[in-house]
């Protein structure tokens, strides 16, 4: 046989044509699943190593592929778009006794598991008792510390007797991307080893039940229950529109752009660049239909954490100098082309927090001075005009931005710190820092100042962009900065093995509730451990006696006490003056929606609820989506 190159080429071509021309050319979902009745959404946390594991109560199970959105419910859920707490499996908010040692929960009635067994107080009691007795399982430690006794008084009332007062015990059942969800007693009571039990096939208490799963762990297909009305969401919002929900992990952003352009993906998280690349798709939309496109209600704040146990970051002047050496407009321009809401406080600048904290503190911020004089006056670091400067930048890039300062404040935030490198220099110099002949900063001991920023290696993560953008600022200021990206950045931060890191600068608040205890508590001095040991608080390891006192007071008042906000404001004043870490801007959510098959997503024009598919709240969105009717 004479086999030549031409033959090989022909053969290859032939094979590819054959495969390409077969009738399945475009099908991503099989023939039994009508595309127009299916909503396809991205999985945030990646491929599931063991896709047949639905044991949501053991660590490691992938929850955002449908378990927390469609399969399981918690007692309550935070809705941060509207600033509310929803009663899901509970019928009402918890009832505490006066000294917070007893909590009573009233349960919703008429809810059934997908196998037809009714949901009752027995399930709740069983869940708490099972978890409490099995070390290694989620909430085991919390329940064994706090729960003395749990029992039902009737089929729809559960009473928790606590070992010690805890005014926020119910938050273990309050879903904010995670909560203790209720398990079906009639299944689990027969399980010998709850840790090893896979719970496959799972039964559901939500409106959907698992239909199929990818043995490779990339996707999960859920089907609407016929008795969807016998669920909490059914009672709350009615029938969900899609018959099928497909959770699909697509990987890096370019894959999502491709999938969405082929209309094989309806909802996903993108990056700034991949969002820009999606405009060829006429059905593509973002949270805001115009620049800056992003979700402005995400309850997380990005920023830079300084390790306050490491010299020279233990010095407040140095921390402030680093903040003043940052031009926030430039950082946001470098990171996300200006798309973002700046936040000076360590609280996310979402509409509800702007109301609860930024607005009341605006006056104080304007008058706030640093202990340093510029031109004979005490220096006021707050720059209320920063948002306008960012708007000007956006205009210079050719984006349409409203002229009204009020609207600009709404889009870009209220303000930030001044870009004042000369004041930063003054702060450093009075602490013994010097510049060498080429303008580089030397530490007080005369050695060159070199900062290493530890960052997440995933380019989709805002911490990644933030690190490089801030590094640019400090380099220009004359500090030698190195950015190190590593998958271990979280561990390194927890062990304190870093100088500067782009981990969250403050712990996320509830998002839908003004209580800041969750955030402020992380600076409590008794949570901190020396470098090399795991810290229980915020990784920067900063604490302050005045703040400790505020934390004590917060613990003693309830979740809905009117004193909450004034107390938290006092706390924020301390964290502002001390600058333990530098907040930059709210988490810019680059959601991308394809409107080929579904519309009425909760966009900026109609934010009826939070916009992400990976949050548990996604279940509340499904009844509101509208099919376009496209086949």
């Amino acid at each position: 046989m004479r086999f030549t190159g031409r033959h090989a080429g022909l053969l290859l071509l032939l094979v590819s044509l054959l495969v390409a021309a077969s009738p399945l050319a475009q099908a991503q979902i099989g023939p039994d699943i009508p595309r127009e009745e299916t909503i396809i959404v991205d999985i945030l946390t990646g491929r599931s190593p063991n896709p047949r594991r639905f044991n949501a109560w053991a660590p490691g199970t992938t929850l955002d592929a449908g378990i927390q959105q469609l399969m399981l419910d918690s007692l309550w859920c935070v809705e941060y778009a509207r600033g509310e707490i929803l009663n899901v499996l509970a019928e009402a908010p918890p009832i505490y006794n006066d000294d917070y040692t007893q909590m009573t929960v009233k349960l919703r009635q008429g809810i059934y598991w997908s196998d037809g067994v009714p949901f009752t107080a027995d399930d709740v009691v069983f869940t708490v008792e099972l978890l409490k007795g099995n070390p290694g399982m989620n909430y085991q430690a919390e329940f064994s510390i706090f729960v003395d006794r749990v029992y039902k008084t009737d089929d729809y009332t559960v009473v928790f007797e606590l070992k010690e007062p805890n005014s926020r015990f119910h938050t273990y059942f309050l879903d904010r991307w995670g909560a203790c969800r209720i398990m079906p007693k009639h299944i689990w009571e027969n399980v010998d080893n709850p840790m090893a039990f896979d719970f496959y096939p799972p039964i559901s208490i939500g409106q959907y039940v698992l239909k199929d799963v990818d043995p490779g762990g990339y996707w999960f297909l859920w089907e609407k229950r016929e008795d969807w009305e016998r669920t909490a969401v059914g009672q709350m919002y009615g029938e969900p529109k899609p018959k099928y929900v497909l959770f699909h992990y697509y990987g890096p952003p370019e894959r999502k752009v491709i999938a969405q352009s082929r209309h094989e993906l309806d909802m996903c998280d993108l990056t700034m660049e991949s969002l820009q690349a999606s405009w060829d798709n006429p059905n593509f939309r973002t949270y805001r239909r115009e620049y800056p496109w992003i979700v402005n209600i995400d309850p997380c704040i990005t920023g830079i954490t300084l390790n306050t146990l490491v010299e020279p970051f233990n010095n407040k002047d140095v921390r402030w100098a680093l903040a003043l050496a940052i031009d926030i407009v430039d950082v946001m321009a470098l990171a996300f082309d200006g798309a973002g809401v700046m936040g000076a406080l360590l609280v996310p600048p979402t509409p509800v927090y702007l109301d609860w904290y930024y607005e009341p503190m605006e006056e104080w911020l304007r008058e706030f001075t640093l202990d340093i004089e510029v031109d004979g006056e005490p220096f006021k670091p707050y720059d209320p005009g920063a948002a306008q400067r960012l708007a000007e930048y956006a205009v210079s890039r050719g984006y349409a931005v409203p002229d009204d300062p009020a609207e600009q404040r709404e889009i870009f935030g209220y303000g930030w710190w001044k870009y004042a490198p000369e004041v930063a220099a003054q702060l450093l110099e009075r602490n013994g820092f010097k510049r060498d002949s080429s303008g580089r900063w030397l530490l007080p001991n005369g050695t060159p100042w070199k900062i290493t920023i530890t960052s997440h290696p995933n380019p989709s993560h805002p911490g990644y962009k933030n690190s490089f953008a801030v590094a640019q600022q400090w380099r220009r200021f004359g500090i030698d900065v190195e950015v190190v990206t590593t998958e271990q950045y979280g561990t390194l931060a927890t062990y304190g093995q870093f100088e500067v890191s782009s981990v969250w600068p403050a712990y996320e608040p509830w998002g839908g509730h003004p209580d800041l205890y969750r955030t402020i508590r992380m600076w409590d001095s008794d949570l901190h451990r020396p470098i090399g040991e795991v810290t229980y608080g915020q990784q920067g390891r900063w604490s302050h006696p005045d703040l400790d006192a505020i934390i004590d007071k917060l613990e003693r008042i309830g979740f809905d006490d009117p004193e909450l906000i004034p107390l938290a404001i006092e706390g924020l004043k301390i964290t502002t003056a001390e600058m333990p870490s530098i907040a930059t801007f709210g988490y810019p959510g680059f959601v991308g929606w394809d409107e080929t098959y579904w519309t009425n997503y909760p966009g900026a024009e109609n934010p009826y609820q939070q916009p992400y598919q990976h949050w548990p709240n996604f279940k509340f969105m499904l009844p509101f989506l509208e099919p376009t009717g496209k086949k």
Binding site: E273, R475, V484, T485, T486
Partner: protein
């Protein structure tokens, strides 16, 4: 030596091409030192511009001049590759010669070590090692790490060549005539081993550069040091392909191709020049 190079130049267009490309890249690498911009600084030029007379290879989304970034990348990648190649060649040749020439227990021991390195799955090991160094691998240390893990197979190849050479007549003649081991190795074996070294070196260089790209794509090297890998990392993650910034993504890819082509052609040409068999033929040719 000089004469040989001159001869190569005139004899072989492949050599000429390879040499010119390498020379140009080398000059580029030196020129990088005269870059008007610090390669780590962003926003030094307008963003996302296509190539023009002012920005020869355009600019990227971080506001950097792709041309100057590319020069830095060439410099760092070549240095990294060269370090990897040289260090792994030293180990491979030493182990291969020693094991092959000495034989016996020494051979067994060295080959056990070599095989242990051969069987290690390199990518995960390298990922682990870059994790241990917290991605602080500089150009030099990455080169050394790649060198430490990139020699084993080539040592095996060199050993088997030495084994076959040892059986040949001239070794006996040389040993009988009292030639020292070193002399035997350098006079008699090197002409045979050298082509192996250059051919494996070329592959190793390619492997090292490919590995660097892989690690960079995964974000496991220092991303602010411009290399071919980090250029690709930034370009891909800024969606240069989807957004049509072809000049940004093509530059490192074309550079990879040119470096490979140049090295490949050079090594082919040099090997042909040095290959003992072809040399013998040439001699026979002259004699008749």
């Amino acid at each position: 030596m000089l004469k040989a190079v001159k001869a190569l130049f005139q004899r072989d267009r492949r050599f000429l091409f390879g040499f010119i490309v390498i020379a140009v890249l080398f000059v580029g690498a030196v020129l990088a030192g005269f870059s008007p911009h610090d390669p780590r600084l962003w926003n030094v030029v307008p963003r996302d511009l296509p190539p023009s007379s002012k920005y020869w290879l355009g600019t990227n989304s971080m506001g950097q001049d792709v041309f100057w970034q590319a020069l830095w990348a060439i410099r760092n990648s070549l240095v990294m590759g060269a370090i990897a190649v040289i260090s792994s060649r030293i180990i491979a040749v030493a182990v291969g010669l020693l094991a092959g020439y000495r034989g016996g227990l020494m051979d067994r021991l060295l080959m056990t070590v070599t095989d242990s390195f051969v069987i290690l799955p390199l990518l995960p090991i390298l990922i682990l090692i870059t994790s241990i160094f917290k991605s602080r691998l500089s150009v030099t240390s990455l080169g050394i790490v790649l060198g430490i893990f990139g020699w084993a197979w080539d040592a095996r190849v060199i050993r088997s060549q030495v084994l076959s050479l040892r059986e040949r007549e001239f070794t006996y003649t040389a040993v009988l005539s009292g030639m020292s081991t070193g002399k035997i190795i350098f006079r008699e074996y090197m002409p045979y081993i050298f082509p192996l070294i250059t051919a494996t070196a070329m592959n190793n260089m390619l492997w090292a550069m490919g590995m660097e790209v892989t690690l960079a794509v995964l974000g496991l090297v220092s991303l602010e040091i411009p290399t071919l890998g980090t250029m690709i990392h930034w370009a891909v993650n800024s969606q240069a392909m989807l957004l049509g910034f072809w000049w940004w993504i093509l530059t490192p890819v074309v550079l990879c191709v040119f470096i490979f082509l140049a090295l490949y052609l050079l090594s082919l040409s040099i090997n042909e020049f040095l290959d003992p068999r072809i040399r013998v033929q040439r001699l026979q040719g002259i004699k008749g």
